[in-house]
Symmetry: none
Subunit: 212 residues, 4 copies
């Protein structure tokens, strides 16, 4: 079995994300960590409930941060393929971040430091990854000179965030548009704004599965 502090942090991440910080009692944390509830055993490992939040948050931020550091957009020689990869990676990260996002949303005002750390180490980095990709493609002539790379990045990241959040909150995809279809449309829209989009569109294959 994992060590007790780890189990407490696991419990914290999931409970805080599900019920919020206030909504989670120390007894629930203990129970979820396999300790006797309301016995105070948590305090052998953490000085306070807030410290559990801290630790859980930090661990998760570090994990997601590592994910970002690991990513290396390999050049595939094909803009559409690269955009798809980028979008898929973004979606995946957002799914992973779910607990973090909920905690920031719920407790961000009470503990602004969480908000700051999440923004600096996760959110800002995401935008920068996308914007640097777009800029590089602009330099390579794949996006027209007048493009607004920041705005395009904000559009793409925002759309991914909005889509993910919708699913998080309501448990279903809006208008029945699933992940694949959403990735397609986000890539389509980027392609359409690229140099490629100015010529004839990439030919919707007449029988196309979903990218109709």
């Amino acid at each position: 079995m994992r060590a007790t502090p780890d189990r407490i942090v696991d419990a914290g991440l999931s409970l805080f994300s599900d019920r919020g910080f206030r909504g989670t009692t120390v007894g629930q944390l203990e129970a979820a960590a396999g300790l006797t509830p309301r016995a105070g055993a948590l305090y052998k490992h953490f000085p306070s409930k807030e410290a559990v939040l801290e630790a859980a948050f930090e661990r998760h931020v570090a994990e997601v941060e590592a994910l970002h550091s690991a990513i290396e957009l390999m050049p595939l020689g094909d803009l559409r393929a690269e955009l798809t990869l980028l979008a898929r990676f973004g979606m995946q990260t957002l799914v992973r971040e779910r607990a973090l996002r909920r905690i920031v949303l719920t407790e961000g005002d009470r503990i602004p430091d969480l908000k700051r750390r999440y923004r600096e180490r996760i959110v800002d980095r995401s935008y920068e990854e996308v914007v640097s990709f777009i800029r590089q493609k602009m330099a390579g002539g794949e996006f027209p000179a007048g493009s607004d790379p920041e705005a395009i990045s904000v559009l793409m990241v925002g759309a991914l965030l909005g889509f993910t959040l919708e699913y998080d909150v309501f448990g279903r995809h809006p208008l029945g548009v699933d992940e694949d279809r959403f990735i397609d449309v986000i890539v389509d829209s980027a392609m359409a704004m690229s140099r490629a989009g100015t010529g004839p569109r990439p030919q919707p294959e007449p029988e196309g599965s979903h990218s109709r």
Copy 2:
């Protein structure tokens, strides 16, 4: 002065949205409504704290709902102009909805009914407005036949939501992209995916800072 129940509902909307349901005490509601705090006067008007949330939520949902019903996309004869109007309206609604969104985000799991009502009466309606607009334009030949109108709607609404949320949570626009620039890019992307986008692009002015 407004009637006491109204003042309590006002207080509820703002306090619940700022501090969450659990984070708001009955005493704070009373104080904010001009009653003696912790004296229990609230219970003369509402049977419970939850009933205040109910009432506050319902009132706000009804307001935003009315907004949606009032909208009537007048045909401007120009796709870009119409898209811009649509985007601006969506943004505006999302800003208005802020308190609702925060309450659903924070308390949606505890009181699933709130979530359902918000989704059915606000969120779904937004998607349907956009998708019906796109479908209509497809019928009019302004979008290519192979387009995925649902996906395009989800992209647009999701992007607006993501952008707004970012501002709500962090108090600043990502990458410094302000609302106007964001509306531009969202419209650009839709235009690019439209029939218009398949031909030559709408004139990137050679020197344009960021094609607004």
Copy 3:
């Protein structure tokens, strides 16, 4: 019935003095004040347990202080009679102060402010009353010129304090010497040090029970 805050303060004075601050629980205070124990009703009237101590302490200090201010040593024209009166008054005050003394003894280190207030407003004043009495008598020639009025005062007050404390703590008078006998000896010793003491002693009545 007295008002609730008053009843709480009464309870506090007696419980704190009997069991110490730490040794007294809020539930006990509530119970002793006629409230449901462990129901938190105390917090309607005081912000914290410590605030009850504060209030109880302050009220009692003020009472004893008033006692000191009220005293007016009337000249009886007889040194022995005046000394007896002084000693009796001192003893009485010390008995009244019992609760204060115990609180200072028990909690003085944790809350140094209590100590300071007790010292400044009660203790120091006692010493000064006695020393000013002795000085006045020295000026009147009733104490020899070489006397040490401060030391004599410290002796008298200290003796009263020691005697009282003994009774407080052990519930009985040491060596069976009761209050009257003690007052006698304290007066005797002062008289003996006075000018009168240098001549023949004030007539030990040959059959005297114990009064000297």
Copy 4:
């Protein structure tokens, strides 16, 4: 290094006396004894926290008791000198007893046995030593026949106790009267009540430092 139980007892004596029994945690005792705090190692040596108090108390009582047994009032042939010696010894013992006295004061009600032992083995013995001294001097004709030796003893011991306590609690001597001056006055008062006091006073040496 001393054995662990001894170190625990040392820690107990000082901590209990400084913070009281309730105010001292087992963890603090362990830490002060060089053990890992809150690890429960204390229970290898003592069955409970109370047992530590017991042991610490008993050890200290025995020490002070030994002091009393050791004393042997040697006849100096001079009443004043003997009284001074007695007073100095009493003062010294009281200073040594400080921790005991504080523990009895603080915990005496909770654990009446402590009180009883302290009284029987320390306090009563002190009174008896003094009273036997005075009686002996009365028998030798140095105190007048009508004297009340018990009362005189209570006066002297009480005065010493009061003086010492004042210093313990407030950290300063009342009215600036230091130990020497206090011993002088206590001896003066006893001398004044003695046969010697009935004649002319012992002549304040014209240049006397403080025995004025």
